[in-house]
């Protein structure tokens, strides 16, 4: 075995080493004077010295900036150059995508003597470091034991070849009593006793015991993750019994509105709407929370990979055109002594998630155009990672396909390994300190290039009509994908035909594996040869693994043995409806009692610099938001390309001016007061952003993503019901149907006898069609002398606001929504904007008028003066600070040229609006209070710096 080390030549910068040194300093360790990182490649096989030399020179090391060394070694050199040396490698079975590329590169050199390649990273740290500090650095930065380990001795390159000898595993279910059923389910099936008994009855009717793969298949299909049994269950809240919360709230909106442009809703991998009569748009937002908690980089990248496959699996396949990501983390500066045991530090999760998303989405060539990052200490054990993708597809391909009996099951994409087994059932349980250990196999590293090749091949196959139906292989692996696809027909799958990454997988592991970058197609026999060769031309495997039948049975074979024979009817409709109790009591928070400050400057600076409001530029810049060349409104706007844009716009068809607007609304702080108004506010916020960039309510579709605590606890469930009810009430008035959604429950963390439940979190994502992108409006102020209007009514609504927050209060007067008036207001404003009367528009959300006005001013590089006396109020408010920072919904700040004043005002007549200020060229931001005195004066440069500084890392 040869061991090659490649490192940056002395004298050249080593950015990875420098970043590591900064991270170590962030841990509070200041004695590391220098850090360097080098790459290790282990080559197994029998290359000769000359061949290894060529591999180093021509492939692995850059001739200008890198140096290399190699040798035939039996063990790693651990002592070196008076430095502390740590070498980290992936655990067996965790694949580093680089290995495959190195093997290809060696083959291209014409060298055939290398059998396999393994990579590792080597860290050199110089400076005084006691052993405890070194261990702290390893634990907190360098090694994640879920996927990696420190190399201390000689390691094999390839996995030891293990042979799996088939033996059918039958579980003696029929002989079990209730205790034994519960024991069997625990930590493996995550089903309750009632459900276990239903399964027992089914097999007792069949007169036989189940095999392991049958039980696992039922557990996957019946998991919360796959079937959303909480939302579909019977919930008793007070005297009311809600039969299927999903149908009675969210889906009801869509049904009652009956919009003809909703082409495919709630039935497919993504919701689909009509775009322009020729094309359709599909949209899905998914969460990947649990995996991101234990391995942020892999968790986030596979989250992106998964939602992209939802788009590929929508209708007969959508082409991904943009991404949107929303993250919720613990505070980035949380002291280590407040970190619960078994949890990664929020900063590490943040950096890992950011890198995972960037590396995956950038490589796929999909622009990441907007998103949000929120912080709250209650996310410390359960960070939330929402990944969303929009796709474009020909309208006639927008429906789920239908296979015919005799069609073949074709598995395409990456190979199958032990990755992610039990990911779905794992996501349906609470995380505990032990989660890391249990979930080792639930975490995967994605390979974005495999997915990119898959996209390229699939879209070609789609356009040639080579398959009849498609679905993605995500949570639950083949079990979910094939099981769901064959629901109405039946299927026979030959598990030994599935291409494997390595030997030794049992038939059950093959069936349940959640290996990434795979999709399942139903192809007519006559097209399979063409399909397979098309995929080969794009360097992607396509393998026939079975056929669809007409007996409505799920039959699995392994080496000729029948290992599963389940009735589709029982599998898909046999789950007993869940019954749960819910309660809802409005919490009472203390009302703030601090005096009104004479000067509001400190408060504005404080809110602008708070983690939720401050600039996310350092994250946004690491995402490619220009690829595909279709971005019309980018995430950063304004005179220096760094102001916070409201919603993203893309123009996906080069020769058409129609646009797609995507926005998000989320504010978990309001949920601490009332989840109903939290949900209402999230919808209003998502719609405001659509309007603010020049869109209208004509064709807006919504997605819901609920992230909640444990729904077995009645108070959590009661809050969920309230939020879902608001989704119905508000969306129906705005006439914005839901087209798809997702929920992630059980986001609670147990440590040291305490339970941390995340804040109730609802993300509402909006997808809107824009007639003409040339009408787009950005939020940055444009010209001195322009008038600044507020559109909308300001109420004394500071409950859950940032202003109360920085003074240490929550309060109770949460912002409400009046969608009937809201609709009128938004319609009028979008008509005025459509006529070109608006130079800039910004929606008011966190931090109210104060934050929105400051952002407009510094994004445009112009000063501003605002007079709070003129702000239209819905009720008397006798404090300037409350007017400036109230977070009432359905409000906008709008910049209008003086010559358009009359036309704008006449178009807005009938809703609350007022000219409250103007744009100036003196770079001062000034606010006059309700009694006419000046309450704030600051330079826009200072305000911008306060907003940009906090997350500039």
């Amino acid at each position: 075995m040869f061991r090659i080390e490649v490192s940056v030549k002395p004298g050249f910068p080593d950015p990875r080493g420098e970043a590591l040194q900064r991270d170590i300093r962030d841990l509070g360790i200041t004695t590391v004077k220098q850090a360097r990182v080098s790459d290790i490649y282990l080559l197994e096989g029998k290359p000769d010295e000359e061949e290894v030399g060529r591999i180093c020179r021509e492939l692995l090391a850059d001739p200008l900036v890198e140096e290399y060394s190699y040798g035939e070694v039996s063990s790693p050199r651990i002592e070196d150059r008076n430095a502390h040396v740590i070498e980290v490698a992936y655990n067996p079975g965790v694949m580093d995508p680089v290995e495959e590329s190195v093997e290809k590169g060696i083959g291209d050199l014409g060298i055939k003597t290398v059998e396999s390649v393994k990579t590792a990273e080597r860290y050199y740290l110089w400076g005084e470091l006691p052993g405890s500090a070194l261990k702290f650095i390893c634990d907190k930065l360098l090694v994640n034991s879920v996927i990696q380990h420190m190399v201390t001795k000689r390691e094999g390159v390839s996995l030891p070849a293990t042979v799996y000898e088939f033996s059918l595993e039958v579980i003696d279910l029929l002989g079990m009593d209730s205790d034994e059923l519960v024991e069997l389910s625990k930590d493996r099936l995550w089903l309750d006793l009632n459900e276990m008994k239903e399964i027992q009855n089914y097999f007792s009717r069949l007169g036989r015991n189940p095999t392991d793969v049958e039980l696992e298949t039922i557990a996957q299909t019946w998991s919360e993750h796959c079937i959303h049994k909480t939302f579909k269950g019977k919930i008793k809240l007070g005297e009311v019994v809600i039969d299927n919360l999903l149908k009675s709230t969210i889906m009801k909106v869509t049904e009652e509105l009956g919009k003809p442009w909703c082409l495919s809703v709630f039935v497919d991998n993504a919701g689909v709407i009509d775009f322009d009569g020729r094309y359709a748009l599909c949209f899905k937002v998914e969460t990947h929370n649990h995996p991101s908690a234990v391995e942020p980089y892999g968790g986030a990248s596979t989250g992106i990979g998964g939602v992209i496959r939802d788009i590929l699996g929508a209708g007969l396949g959508g082409k991904p055109i943009m991404n949107t990501d929303v993250f919720c983390f613990g505070p980035p500066d949380l002291p280590y002594d407040r970190l619960p045991e078994g949890v990664l530090h929020p900063r590490r999760i943040f950096k890992g998630v950011r890198a995972g998303v960037a590396d995956y989405a950038n490589r796929l060539g999909i622009p990441t155009l907007n998103g949000a990052i929120l912080f709250d200490e209650r996310y410390v054990g359960n960070p939330l990672v929402f990944c969303g993708t929009v796709g474009l597809l020909p309208k006639e391909l927008s429906q789920i396909g239908q296979q015919q009996p005799g069609d073949l099951v074709v598995l395409v994409g990456g190979r199958t390994g032990r990755d992610g087994i039990h990911g779905v059932t794992f996501a349906s349980g609470e995380l505990t300190r032990e989660s890391e250990a249990i979930s080792t196999s639930s975490v995967q590293i994605g390979n974005p290039i495999t997915e990119k090749k898959l996209i390229d091949a699939l879209l070609k196959a789609r356009d040639r009509g080579l398959y009849r139906r498609i679905t993605d292989c995500g949570g639950g692996g083949l079990s979910s994908a094939v099981g769901e696809m064959a629901r109405e027909t039946g299927v026979c799958v030959y598990l030994d035909l599935v291409p494997l990454k390595y030997s030794g997988l049992t038939y059950t592991e093959i069936w349940l594996s959640e290996s990434q970058e795979r999709m399942v197609l139903a192809a007519p026999r006559g097209s399979v040869d063409e399909l397979v060769s098309l995929f080969a031309g794009e360097d992607v495997e396509a393998t026939v693994i079975g056929e669809f039948t007409n007996n409505r049975h799920l039959q699995l074979f392994y080496q000729g043995n029948l290992v599963s024979d389940l009735d589709m009817e029982f599998l898909h409709n046999g789950l007993p409806q869940l019954r749960r109790e819910a309660i809802w009591e409005r919490p009472q928070h203390s009302e703030p009692d601090f005096p009104e400050p004479h000067d509001l400057g400190d408060d504005l600076f404080g809110i602008l610099g708070s983690p939720n409001v401050c600039s996310k530029e350092s994250v946004i810049r690491q995402y490619d938001h220009e690829v595909q060349g279709a971005s019309i409104l980018k995430p950063l706007v304004g005179i220096e390309n760094d102001g916070p844009g409201d919603a993203a716009i893309v123009k996906p068809i080069p020769d058409s001016n129609k646009g797609v607007i995507v926005s998000n609304g989320i504010n978990p702080k309001y949920g601490d007061i009332d989840p109903y108004w939290m949900a209402a506010s999230a919808i209003d916020e998502a719609l405001r952003q659509v309007i603010a960039v020049g869109g209208d309510l004509g064709r807006v579709a919504l997605l819901d993503n609920f992230c909640w605590g444990n729904p077995d606890k009645p108070d959590r469930l009661g809050a969920l019901v309230r939020a879902a009810e608001a989704c119905h009430d508000i969306a129906i008035s705005y006439e914005t149907p839901f087209i798809s959604g997702k929920d992630s429950l059980y986001n609670e963390y147990e440590a040291e006898g305490k339970t941390i439940c995340i804040p109730h979190t609802l993300l509402i994502s909006a997808l809107a069609v824009m007639e003409d992108v040339n009408r787009a409006v950005s939020m940055d102020s444009k010209r001195e002398g322009d008038l600044l209007y507020i559109v909308g009514t300001t109420w004394n609504e500071l409950g859950g606001s940032h202003y109360y927050g920085i003074h240490g209060f929550i309060g109770n007067n949460v912002p409400k929504v009046d969608p009937r008036r809201g609709r009128e207001l938004m319609d009028r404003l979008s008509r005025a904007m459509g006529k070109g009367l608006v130079r800039a528009c910004h929606d008011l959300s966190e931090g109210g008028i104060g934050v929105a006005a400051a952002e407009m001013a510094f994004a445009g590089g112009l000063g501003m003066v605002i007079d709070l006396e003129r702000v239209p109020l819905g009720e008397p408010i006798n404090r300037s600070d409350f007017v400036l920072f109230s977070e009432s919904n359905t409000r906008f700040l709008v910049e209008v040229a003086p010559e358009d004043r009359h036309e704008f005002e006449s178009m807005m007549a009938g809703v609350d609006f007022a000219a409250i200020g103007r744009v100036k060229d003196d770079e001062r931001f000034e606010v006059y209070g309700i009694t006419g005195e000046r309450v704030l004066s600051a330079s826009i440069a200072e305000l911008k710096e306060a907003w940009e500084r906090p997350l500039r890392w």
């Binding site: 200008l64 190195v102 590169g105």
Partner: protein, 256 residues
């Protein structure tokens, strides 16, 4: 006159192929996308085209280093075809990943004269991938046919490995086409105007003939005015700056 034909080379991980194709079409060329396998298997022949472009992306994941695996594949398996294409007067454009590939395959700065690689594109000084718009000054002494008539440009970059590093001594011989600059054209403005730490603020180079040109910024992402990051606040232009690069190339072939 027969229409100019452009081939856009694809490999696993290429991701700017469609917008690059669209830019060439806008500029009047006929365009075909070809997977590297189709060139290796001679299902498509370079000699049928007048322009070849290697677009942006992350070929083979940019594993090992950006563009390295594709560069080796081209150097070891397509060398004669490419040499023939260049010798017969073809134009080559490398954008972003295409720049990295051309340099690491030994096609730029001097096509295939067998000398060791004396130039490379190393990791950005910032240590991370960055997406931002940059001002570029066009070297008026450059023989580059793609930038004829242009003095400055504004284009987006999006890369993690764009820092030009050169062996001492070769900088003087290099045909630099584009320099990173600030909005006034000052090339000494530093980061973030020079987004990656490139030596001498080099953003794009060509060979001595001016027919082989590569750059880190993405001209295909600014061919229409509404792609400009400040189009909502600045007076409109008929075309985006990047359009002229494609148009110059097509026009040169039309007039050749």
């Amino acid at each position: 006159m027969a229409r100019v034909k452009t081939l856009i080379l694809r490999a696993p991980g290429t991701n700017c192929d469609e917008e690059t194709a669209f830019a060439f079409e806008q500029a009047g060329s006929q365009v075909e996308l070809a997977h590297i396998k189709e060139l290796l298997g001679h299902q498509k022949l370079l000699s049928s085209y007048q322009i070849m472009a290697i677009p942006g992306g992350f070929t083979y994941g940019d594993d090992i280093s950006a563009g390295k695996v594709l560069a080796n594949e081209i150097r070891l398996k397509l060398r004669e075809d490419i040499q023939g294409f260049i010798d017969s007067g073809g134009l080559v454009l490398g954008i972003c990943n295409g720049f990295q590939v051309l340099v690491k395959a030994g096609i730029l700065p001097r096509p295939a004269d067998g000398s060791p690689q004396q130039l490379t594109l190393a990791g950005n000084d910032s240590g991370v991938f960055e997406c931002r718009w940059v001002y570029l000054r066009v070297n008026q002494k450059s023989p580059c046919i793609f930038t004829k008539g242009m003095t400055s440009m504004y284009l987006p970059v999006a890369h993690g490995e764009g820092k030009v590093v050169a062996e001492p001594g070769i900088l003087e011989e290099l045909n630099v086409v584009l320099y990173y600059a600030d909005e006034t054209g000052n090339v000494q403005a530093g980061y973030p105007y020079n987004p990656n730490g490139s030596v001498d603020n080099i953003a794009g180079i060509c060979d001595a003939s001016g027919r082989i040109f590569a750059l880190m910024p993405h001209p295909e992402r600014f061919t229409r005015w509404t792609q400009h990051p400040r189009w909502t606040r600045e007076p409109p232009q008929k075309y985006g700056d990047g359009f002229h690069i494609f148009r110059n190339a097509v026009e040169w072939v039309e007039n050749a």
